[in-house]
């Protein structure tokens, strides 16, 4: 009984603001005659026709696949590189200035350059763009996380003669995981932005490309449906991320709770 009530309350807090915003949009745009600001009802009507099965399969899914591959690459490279850099003072001293340099370059600027190497069309250049953009927050946060590890823990693991594999996975990776998660969350929103930006250049299909095409063809309600869809994808990805993080970092919440209790 209580759980149902809690769930209900949670659902209320979750939906309250979106519902208020949607109502405001609906009311404010209801009598709009401006072509570029159509009534929300028109946009919602256009939604199912615009994003039919064909468009989902040919535009939305390939975009999401590119995002997934680019993000996964960044995650693997960022965590591996971050552990390497974080564990060794020498490597860190060597790499830190360069890392800050590359991090400061916004990936959209690199899109034409990446195209020169990875091709103007096709998925490679888009995946590289997404991966490069997502890499830095993950890498730098992993370095910070590894550097902030408890020396005593590391020493203890060494004294107990943990195997290096166990030490790496159970002590280093686990200890740094809260920071890694923070970096990964940042990278996810950057990835969604880059998924769209990478398609503005040399694309003929994809979510971002479709939105621009609608704009070029003056199909304004359809353009708005694309923007709404992007937002919904963002919400879904954030939810998915929170779910994974919730499970992976369950131990961390336990530690924090214990700390607070003590």
């Amino acid at each position: 009984m209580t759980t149902v009530a809690t769930w209900g309350r949670q659902l209320f807090w979750l939906l309250a603001l979106p519902l208020v915003l949607l109502t405001l949009w609906w009311v404010a745009s209801a009598d709009s005659t401006s072509i570029f600001w159509p009534p929300l009802s028109t946009i919602l009507e256009a939604f199912p026709q615009t994003w039919d099965a064909d468009r989902i399969v040919n535009d939305a899914l390939p975009s999401l696949a590119r995002l997934g591959i680019g993000y996964a690459l960044a995650l693997v490279a960022g965590v591996a590189g971050g552990i390497l850099v974080g564990l060794s003072r020498t490597v860190r001293a060597l790499c830190e200035p360069s890392m800050e340099f590359f991090r400061a370059i916004p990936p959209p600027v690199l899109v034409p350059v990446i195209a020169l190497f990875a091709g103007y069309t096709g998925s490679t250049s888009k995946i590289v763009t997404i991966a490069l953009g997502c890499l830095w927050p993950i890498l730098l946060n992993t370095v910070e996380g590894v550097r902030g590890l408890d020396e005593v823990q590391l020493d203890t693991a060494r004294v107990y003669r943990f195997r290096s594999r166990t030490r790496l996975l159970q002590v280093v990776l686990r200890g740094a995981s809260p920071q890694i998660a923070a970096g990964a969350r940042q990278a996810l929103s950057i990835g969604v932005i880059l998924m769209v930006i990478s398609e503005l250049f040399g694309a003929n299909r994809g979510l971002g490309a479709s939105i621009v095409q609608f704009q070029r063809a003056f199909a304004v309600p359809e353009m708005w449906t694309g923007i709404i869809l992007l937002g919904l994808i963002g919400v879904a990805l954030a939810g998915l991320f929170r779910l994974v993080e919730h499970r992976a970092l369950a131990w961390y919440r336990g530690v924090r709770r214990a700390d607070r209790g003590a």
């Binding site: 091709g119 103007y120 069309t121 003929n204 490309a209 704009q215 063809a217 003056f218």
Partner: protein, 332 residues
């Protein structure tokens, strides 16, 4: 010491506040730019300030020449030319009142009309030369490509500056006339300057370009396969100058003055190719050699209604819209 610090801090705070205010003001000014831009009519002297949205390509040379020659000043117009990325970006600018006039390709104007955007054409923009092998736009391929004719473009990857504008429509028509099936072509959108490197790299099999990129391509060893504008119609009206219906109704004298100065500019440009080549250097980064080599389009003060009608039919064939818009409301 402490007081000094606070004073500095306070001053800095004030500077930041002033900066923020300035930024907000300029943002607001940009946001309602439409209102101030059209102001100035009838205030004291007889000049009216108008802003025209153009694309920095060869096609708009006449308006630059006309401003230089004083044709617009003679009509009492103080013209500001603002460059935008493409015709599709200029249309919203004109509808929202940011520009009073704009330059856009015929297909984009037809598409906008079919979507219910209230536009009115005020002057011709640029037309095909009508000479095969000597037009200002063509589909180019590498010298050693096995694409020899338009029909060979079937099933190939072709770069265009905007999907679904005049360049795809006319390329499709050229392929169709040559006996090919254009629906098998995979078009990729790339900016004009990126098309030639993409062809060189082998990323795309061919690319549709206009001058000066056509001359840049052919002078670096590429080969024109088909001149898509001539193939579609020797008298093809490729682009036009337009305004919003609202502005045309509110300020008919300004529109009339603009049309008359624009037509004078178009005729002047057609009669003075050397002046055109010279003015190119003022708004493009073209070097002197290329200025001499580029193929000039044809400029005329006459809109070829038949070619606009034809493009509108082709847009239906290509599925850009299902029902032809009313051309009479678009054309003057």
């Amino acid at each position: 010491m402490h007081r000094l610090f606070t004073r500095v801090a306070r001053r800095r705070g004030r500077t930041i506040a002033a900066l923020t205010l300035a930024l907000t003001l300029s943002a607001t000014a940009t946001a309602c730019g439409g209102d101030d831009a059209s102001a100035g009519d009838g205030s004291g002297d007889d000049t009216t300030a108008v802003t025209v949205g153009v694309i920095p390509i060869l096609d708009v040379a006449p308006i630059y020449l006309g401003v230089e020659q004083g044709f617009f000043a003679d009509e009492g117009l103080d013209v500001t030319l603002e460059t935008a990325q493409g015709g599709a970006a200029i249309v919203p600018g004109v509808v929202s009142g940011q520009f009073q006039f704009g330059f856009s390709n015929t297909i984009s104007l037809l598409l906008a009309t079919s979507e219910g955007l209230p536009l009115t054409v005020v002057a011709d923009g640029v037309s095909s030369t009508g000479e095969e092998g000597n037009d200002f736009g063509a589909v180019i391929v590498p010298a050693d490509s096995d694409i020899k004719t338009a029909a060979d473009l079937e099933g190939k990857k072709v770069a265009v500056n905007t999907l679904n504008n005049i360049n795809t429509t006319t390329t499709n028509e050229a392929v169709r006339k040559d006996g090919g099936d254009p629906s098998t072509i995979e078009y990729v959108e790339l900016a004009f300057p990126d098309i030639i490197p993409a062809i060189q790299k082998g990323d795309v099999d061919a690319g549709q370009v206009v001058e000066p990129f056509l001359t840049i391509g052919t002078s670096s060893g590429m080969r024109a396969v088909t001149d898509n504008f001539v193939q579609t119609d020797p008298d093809l009206t490729v682009a036009m100058y337009f305004t919003s219906e609202q502005f045309a109704q509110e300020d008919p004298e300004v529109v009339e003055a603009f049309t008359s100065a624009m037509n004078e500019s178009l005729d002047y440009a057609q009669e003075n190719p050397d002046a055109v080549r010279e003015v190119l250097g003022t708004y493009t980064e073209l070097d002197a050699d290329l200025q001499e080599q580029v193929i000039l389009p044809r400029w005329t003060s006459e809109i070829d209604v038949d070619s606009v009608e034809l493009l509108s039919e082709l847009a239906v064939t290509d599925g850009l819209y299902s029902e032809q818009p009313d051309i009479d409301t678009l054309l003057p």
